[in-house]
Subunit: 135 residues, 2 copies
């Protein structure tokens, strides 16, 4: 129980410890159908969109595809993605990232390395799992 | 910092304290388009599906709509919803619910009252937010 303090409950956690590294990305000239297929196959809801040189240019999610359905507008990924992507770095604290998710109203952040390449993704699912381990 | 123990970091949290009560539901004979529209308007990813008497009969998510797109199969909500819904109760501990989310591989649980009516929803976003407050 939380009344008995344990070492583990007191440590600081970093993004690198809980992010997924098997992140699946998509190119901006892919179709909505392809994005939907990748989301279905990967069980990820958030796909970072990358350009040919692997740099991050957007993010597309199951929510965006649902929006496309509601508007009956099936364009390319680049027409429906969010361009201003909120991101995280591997050495950031998880609590800092959790506040960023909350503030920005999103559920996942692509994790970038120094070259701005996507090397992982951290989601509120990952943070919830960490909460479970610590309580 | 987490090195300085605070009262707040030690308490046990319950579902009722962090769930959303403004949950939006959908009826099972609604169209996929309607579900997509509600998801877009509400910014929720998860819609509990209820029958005429308000009891829970399924759940439909942005992910399911994305799946429908990838299969080019736009049926009614009842044809695409998940019927075996994992749920939570208001008086459960958040850590217990966080473990259930992880174990079942889902991001949200409808919260039921004693009559099995949906009175809220708890998501990994809510738990991540709680983590942010406590660290
Ligand atoms: C407002 S959120 C609501 C649904 C859910 N919380 C989510 O994150 O998908 C949906 C919108 O946020 C965008 N989005 C998701 N993650 C993002 C991120 N890391 N940076 C910028 N936009 C993001 C999506 O492209 C989508 O248009």
């Amino acid at each position: 129980t939380s009344a008995k303090p344990m070492k583990e409950t007191e440590g600081v956690s970093f993004v690198s410890e809980i992010m997924s590294t098997n992140v699946v990305t998509i190119e901006k000239d892919a179709s909505v159908y392809k994005a939907a297929k990748i989301i279905m196959d990967s069980e990820f809801n958030h796909l970072p969109v990358v350009s040919k040189d692997s740099s991050l240019v957007g993010i597309v999610t199951a929510w965006d595809i649902s929006k496309a359905v509601s508007q009956d507008k099936f364009d390319l990924v680049e027409d429906m993605m969010t361009r201003k992507v909120i991101t995280a770095k591997t050495d950031e604290r998880v609590d800092v990232v959790a506040r960023r998710l909350d503030l920005k109203g999103v559920s996942a952040l692509p994790v970038l390395n120094k070259e701005n390449h996507v090397i992982g993704i951290i989601t509120s699912d990952d943070i919830s799992k960490l909460y479970a381990r610590r309580h």
